[in-house]
Structures are given as structure tokens and as C-alpha cells.
């Protein structure tokens, strides 16, 4: 496929000096999967030149340090677009809830079921049959994304499949909270109907900043402002609810 970035290279130099998809401090709910096979510089399923090749020495490794709010977090990859009111049964059909997400072998299995509840009108599967990982990094949603159950399997299966972020017009609260608590996918509110503006397969970048976060659709060339993460910010920045509580002195620092 034609490299969708080549024509945008110059325009987006400003916004995307570094290509890094791992905006999360650490992955919490699975064992030993810290080598992210889906870091965009090594994404096998599509050939994209990074916008700028630059040594990453200035970038703090995320494995243990909590990110400071000033650091940029960037997610880059293909979009998968869904509509309004995508409920938890569509994200992870109930028959797969017997899988225990905190169990590391079962965690990756969960990824293979992500978004398999979507009706047949969705021509592209989020995860191909037989796979456990998705080729899409960014889920683009409409209103009330993640409504329905409190099952944590919903954000977890998206993260297990390899999605980095969900950018939706609005979120249901339990899903949003679970996404923040687990750190599995970064939930972001858009201000417009991004699900109508983007198409599955568009190449996009999500950039998180202190002041203003953006979704950049490289395929269409359009940018969208994203709402600040709000009160969830400190929890995400700390690295999830446990890290936040440790920082706040609510629980002791090291587990036995």
C-alpha cells in the first residue's frame, strides 16, 4: 500500500517529533509481556516510515519510572472505527468471561476475542481469526463507548489485543474508570464525532500533552483536539490506582 505518511512528512514534523506508541507507564495485568511487539517502529503488518528518525536518548524509559506530566505520550498506528453505544458485550462477549485476566496465559487469549461481539455489519474484524493481536492501535468510538457491564475484561481485552488507546466522543463511566485503573488502554474524549471523521484503516497519531492533546488523522490530514484527561490524570500519571495510592501514602510502598 502507498505510504500514507510520505506526503505528510513535512506538515507533521512539528507535532510528531518522536514516534512512540507506549504511552503507558507499565502494563499491569499480565505477566512478562513488556516487550511490546507492536511498537510502531517495528510494526510488521504495515510499512510506515517514522515521521522523524531521532535517537530516543532524551526519552525516559517507561518500565519503572512514573511519567511526569510534562512528558509527551504518543500512540501511532491504524484506526479501527466503531459507532455509538458499543457496549461491553460487543467488546467482549459474555461467554468469554470465564477467562481470568490476571492469569498471564489467559490474558493473551482474551485479546483474541476483542470486539468479536460486533454485528456482521462490521466488515473488518478487529482481530483476525486465529490471531491474538490486532493490527489496529487506536479504537475510534462514538458516544457512550463501553456502556453496559462493569467487567474489566472489556478494556483488558483491547489492551491484550494490542490496542493502545480508545478515542471516543464520550465514554460510559465504568469502562473509563477501568481503563484508567488497569492502564490497559488510554481513554480519551474527543469533542467531535471522530467516528464519522475517520475510517477503519486510517493512519493516526494520538499525542497527549499537558495543555492540549490531539488526534491526527494522517490519511485525511485532519487534526482533532482531545479533552484533557481530567481527574483521571494523576492516577494515570502515577501508573494506575495502586501506584497512585502508594504515592499518596494510602498503602505501603512495596508488596511483600
Amino acid at each position: 500500500m502507498e505510504n500514507p505518511l510520505s506526503s505528510r512528512f513535512g506538515e507533521h514534523l512539528r507535532v510528531c517529533p518522536k514516534l512512540s506508541s507506549d504511552g503507558r507507564q507499565r502494563r499491569r495485568n499480565h505477566g512478562g509481556d513488556d516487550d511490546d511487539p507492536f511498537a510502531p517502529t517495528s510494526t510488521a503488518s504495515f510499512n510506515l516510515k517514522p515521521l522523524v528518525t531521532r535517537s530516543s536518548s532524551a526519552f525516559v524509559t517507561r518500565s519503572s519510572a512514573a511519567a511526569s506530566p510534562q512528558e509527551r505520550k504518543t500512540f501511532h498506528g491504524l484506526c479501527y472505527v466503531v459507532g455509538d453505544n458499543i457496549d461491553t458485550d460487543q467488546i467482549i462477549p459474555a461467554e468469554f468471561l470465564t477467562v481470568v485476566p490476571s492469569n498471564s496465559d489467559e490474558y493473551s487469549k482474551l485479546g483474541s476475542h476483542a470486539l468479536t461481539g460486533l454485528p456482521a455489519s462490521y466488515k473488518n474484524r478487529f482481530v483476525e481469526l486465529g490471531e491474538t493481536k490486532t493490527r489496529y492501535s487506536i479504537v475510534i468510538g462514538g458516544e457512550n463507548f463501553g456502556c453496559g457491564s462493569s467487567r474489566e475484561h472489556a478494556p483488558v481485552c483491547l489492551g491484550a489485543a494490542g490496542a493502545k488507546s480508545v478515542v471516543a466522543q464520550s465514554f460510559a463511566r465504568i469502562f473509563f474508570r477501568n481503563a484508567v485503573a488497569t492502564g490497559e488502554v488510554y481513554p480519551l474524549d474527543a469533542e467531535v464525532r471522530v467516528c464519522k471523521e475517520c475510517r477503519t484503516g486510517d493512519v493516526a497519531t494520538v499525542e497527549l500533552r499537558e495543555e492540549e492533546s490531539v488526534l491526527i488523522n494522517h490519511t485525511t490530514g485532519k487534526e482533532y483536539r482531545l479533552n484533557a484527561i481530567g481527574d483521571a490524570g494523576p492516577v494515570i500519571d502515577a501508573g494506575g490506582i495502586f501506584a497512585y495510592a502508594r504515592k499518596a501514602g494510602m498503602i505501603p510502598s512495596a508488596a511483600a
Partner: protein, 505 residues
């Protein structure tokens, strides 16, 4: 539908656009939607100015019930919506699907040898995937048994004999109904559960909401949770409840009004003369579907009905709270219940409201009566009453899934009023319904492939359950009409979606 509502105006929608009070953006979208859908006589309510809470004893603003409950649980004298506070938890509930994950996280974060914060405040209720040969599902119950044994959890409603649920003396069934029946719901308390319908317990005048495994793992270790105080939407329901109407109709009416995101991040507070006339089980049905409107929690002011129910089931002392007269609400809705009609939620959304009588041409394939929403004793009584009044046989397979062991026993023991001593079970049998099955969540959420009454074909089902998104009961092309037990029973008799007045008047 629209015309009858406009002419009789059973409600007035008063809403205000919240100014920048720090609510997440999505709440502004939902208020906007309210304004779009309301008809005639829109009155913008006057909101009391929001003052930030202070620890140095400034003038106190009135608080809503939810604000008071959370303030007390956070050991603060005052909170306002938007405050992020650490709250003490009175009861944490989990079940077979989320329990293993929650405990897994607890151990990972607090250590393999860690102990839960209070083994008497955790209630473990296997209920989701019980009567199945799915090995992982069975294993999850075993995992919970291990955790409960190790942690000395006082309340574990275990099941070991899957062949005969009645052979298990501790087993209850559906968690939200069991919590109430076993006396774990008390006014003024904070109850969290790893299930979205935990909001059901708000019927008891407490703060109850659903959380995920990670939050639950945190609570297991600390007995606390970080919560943002929600603003409250008030729903005042007045008027005499028509004999053919049930709480399910009321909540479907409301969700149809405000949409599936109409109460996102907010409390739904229900009051008014109609609410006061409802039984506890009907109040539970009302609060149960708060989550279907996106609500954080639902509350009903506790009264004699509440105290009577609670005091018969627990001796733990409790302290009821009530909204202050000068509390601030972000929206006010009023309903004249005497003017409402039975409604359904058509596929595929709980807010896809329609009058039952306007769906009479919809041919159906089956009826399902069960779940935390519509599988309680009074739900079965209602269905039995209608079957008895009709004196006919069902035209489609009618599945009965009593929510708990106790409900199952009531179905077989209790007589239907006016039926000459016949029990619900006898009437169901005479009407040709399926035999009431083992208590659990059953097919409400589909479940493993061998779940009783699961929708495995693209059929049309009228159900007393709570959600009808695509694939909810199994098959992605299944069409689920959410309805009250009366409407479900009436529909079973005709083989079409049917207004219960066909048989009840």
C-alpha cells in the same frame, strides 16, 4: 407514542446546563440530550451556587443523599459533586466471573500472603456461570472457594453439587437479589460490587455501584476506594400506580426519556408518592437499571418499608440519610405515573422505548422471565397472576429462571392471590411454561454455550432482563424486547409483544 405523551404531558422536564463545575465533558452531552428530547414547558431550574468544600467550618450547603453518604464514608463533614475522595467501604461483593481476577490482583499488589482488610465485609456469591459443563467456569467457583477458605471469608454462598442446586445449603444465586435477601443491604452504607447491577442496592438508601477487578483488588486490601462525588438527578414519581404497571415500566420510561447516557457519572434519586408505594423488590427493579442510563448509582430515600425489610434480615445497626431541603440537583424530572402505559425497550438498546400496545404486530419466538431485574419473587407472582387471570396456555417457549434459591422455593410454595390456593408453580405448569430452572444469572447475558435458555438462534425474545444490545443473550442477531413480567407473560400468551391490559382488565 409521541402524541400521547405530548397531549397528556405526564412529565415536565426541568433541566439546567451545568456551568463549569468540573464535570467530565460527557455529562454535558447527556444534559444536552435531555433538552433535545423534552417537550413543552421546559423550565430551567435554579441551581444553588456551588461552594467548594472547606475543612474550616464555613457555612454548610445542603447535600443530597448520595453526597451525605459519601461524606460520612470519607469522614468529611461536607462534600460537593466533583470532589475526589477516599471512601470507606462497608461491603464488597464479588462473584464467580470477576472474583478470581479481583483476588488475583489483590495478591499481586499486596503479596501472596496478604490478608483482606475485613473478612466479614466481603460477600462472595457465585451466580453467573454455574450450571454449565464449561471447565473454566467450574474452575472459577473452585478458585473462589480456595480464596475464601484461605482468607476466612465469612459470607461465601458456595455450590459444589451442580447437578442439584437445592442440595447446596449455602448456595443462593443471583448476587444482587441474594445481597438483599441475606441482609447485606442497609441504608446509609457504601456497597461496591464487581458487577454493574450493584446499583440495585441503592433501593435501600445506600450508595451502591459497580467496579472492575482492579478497583476491587484495591478494596480487598484496603477497604477504601477513590471516588468522585457524583451530582444528582432527581426523578419525582407521583400518582397512583395503575394495576397493570410495574417498576420495570417506570425505569424503561425514564431511560427512554434520558437515553442510555442520560445519567452518565450521575446519581439518579427517585422519590415521590409512587416510589413510597412500591415494595422493596419493585424499588430494586427500579434502581437495577440505573446503570442502563449510564448512572453511577441510584438511591431511594429509606422509609418504613425499607426498615421493615432490613430489620427482618439483619441486626447490624444502620443510619439512614436523606437529601437536605436545600440540596442541589442538576436535573429535575417529574412523572405523573397514573398516565403511563406499559412499555418495552426494542432491540437493540435499553432506551429504544415503545408502547407495548404499539408493538402488537411483532411476532416473538420465546419469553424469558428471570435475572436480578425481573426474576424475584414478586416478578414471578406478577406473571403467575396474569396467567391465572387469562386462563390460557402460552404460545411460545416460556423460560422461568428464579433468581435465588429462596425465589425458587417461593415459586413452589406461595399461592397466587385469588387463585384458590394454587401456587405460582402450578399456574405456570397449567399455562404450559417450562419448569422453573436452577437459580443463577442464566441466559440474561448469554453465557457458555450450554446455558439454559440461551439465545442460540436469531430469534425474537421478550425478556424481563436488563440489556438488549446485539448478542446480549447469545446470538448476535437475536432480537430482545425488554419488558415487565406482566408484559412478558401477556406476550407469551399471544406469541406477539402484548400489552398486559389484554388480560388484566
Amino acid at each position: 407514542m409521541a402524541s400521547s405523551v405530548i397531549s397528556s404531558s405526564p412529565f415536565v422536564c426541568k433541566s439546567s446546563q451545568p456551568k463549569d463545575l468540573g464535570f467530565p465533558k460527557s455529562s454535558q452531552i447527556s444534559v444536552h440530550r435531555c433538552q433535545k428530547r423534552s417537550i413543552s414547558r421546559k423550565i430551567v431550574s435554579v441551581m444553588a451556587p456551588q461552594r467548594s468544600s472547606s475543612t474550616t467550618g464555613s457555612v454548610k450547603t445542603g447535600m443530597t443523599m448520595t453526597e451525605k453518604i459519601l461524606a460520612k464514608a470519607a469522614e468529611k463533614s461536607q462534600v460537593v459533586p466533583g470532589d475526589n475522595i477516599w471512601v470507606n467501604v462497608d461491603v464488597l461483593m464479588t462473584h464467580d466471573v470477576c472474583g478470581p481476577g479481583a483476588f488475583g490482583i489483590f495478591k499481586r499488589e499486596f503479596g501472596e500472603k496478604a490478608k483482606v482488610w475485613d473478612p466479614e465485609k466481603i460477600v462472595v456469591i457465585p451466580d453467573h456461570y454455574i450450571f454449565t459443563t464449561d471447565k473454566r467456569a467450574n474452575r472459577n467457583v473452585d478458585i473462589m472457594r480456595e480464596h475464601c477458605r484461605e482468607q476466612n471469608i465469612k459470607y461465601f454462598y458456595d455450590i459444589t453439587d451442580l447437578g442439584d442446586f437445592r442440595a447446596n445449603p449455602d448456595y443462593k444465586g443471583v448476587c444482587h437479589v441474594a445481597l438483599a435477601q441475606e441482609g447485606h443491604c442497609r441504608p446509609g452504607e457504601v456497597l461496591l460490587g464487581t458487577d454493574s447491577h450493584t446499583c440495585t442496592a441503592g433501593a435501600f438508601g445506600q450508595f451502591a455501584t459497580g467496579i472492575g477487578n482492579t478497583d476491587a483488588g484495591f478494596v480487598l486490601g484496603t477497604g477504601k476506594i477513590l471516588l468522585k462525588v457524583p451530582p444528582t438527578m432527581r426523578f419525582i414519581l407521583d400518582g397512583e400506580m395503575p394495576s397493570y404497571l410495574q417498576a420495570k415500566d417506570l425505569i424503561l420510561q425514564i431511560i427512554g426519556e434520558i437515553s442510555v447516557a442520560g445519567a452518565t457519572y450521575k446519581t439518579m434519586e427517585f422519590s415521590g408518592t409512587t416510589i413510597e408505594s412500591l415494595t422493596m423488590e419493585e424499588r430494586m427493579t427500579l434502581c437495577n437499571m440505573v446503570v442502563e442510563a449510564g448512572g453511577k448509582n441510584g438511591v431511594i430515600p429509606p422509609d418504613a418499608t425499607t426498615f421493615n425489610y432490613v430489620e427482618n434480615r439483619t441486626s447490624v445497626p444502620f443510619e439512614p440519610v436523606y437529601s437536605d431541603g436545600n440540596a442541589s440537583f442538576v436535573a429535575d424530572y417529574r412523572f405523573d405515573v397514573s398516565k403511563l402505559e406499559p412499555v418495552v425497550a426494542k432491540p437493540h438498546s435499553p432506551d429504544n422505548r415503545a408502547l407495548a400496545r404499539e408493538c402488537k404486530d411483532v411476532k416473538i419466538d420465546r419469553v424469558y422471565i428471570g435475572s436480578c431485574t425481573g426474576g424475584k419473587t414478586e416478578d414471578f407472582m406478577a406473571a403467575a397472576k396474569l396467567f391465572h387471570a387469562a386462563g390460557k396456555q402460552v404460545k411460545v417457549p416460556t423460560f422461568l429462571v428464579p433468581a435465588t434459591q429462596k425465589v425458587w422455593m417461593d415459586v413452589y410454595a406461595l399461592p397466587v392471590p385469588g387463585a384458590g390456593g394454587k401456587t405460582y408453580a402450578q399456574i405456570f405448569e397449567e399455562a404450559g411454561c417450562d419448569t422453573p430452572t436452577s437459580s443463577s444469572c442464566g441466559a440474561c447475558l448469554g453465557g457458555p454455550a450450554d446455558t439454559y435458555a440461551r439465545l442460540n438462534e436469531p430469534q425474537v425474545c421478550v425478556s424481563t432482563t436488563n440489556r438488549n444490545f446485539p448478542g446480549r443473550m447469545g446470538h448476535k442477531e437475536g432480537q430482545i424486547y425488554l419488558a415487565s413480567p406482566y408484559t412478558a407473560a401477556a406476550s407469551a400468551l399471544t406469541g406477539h409483544v402484548t400489552d398486559p391490559r389484554e388480560f388484566l382488565q
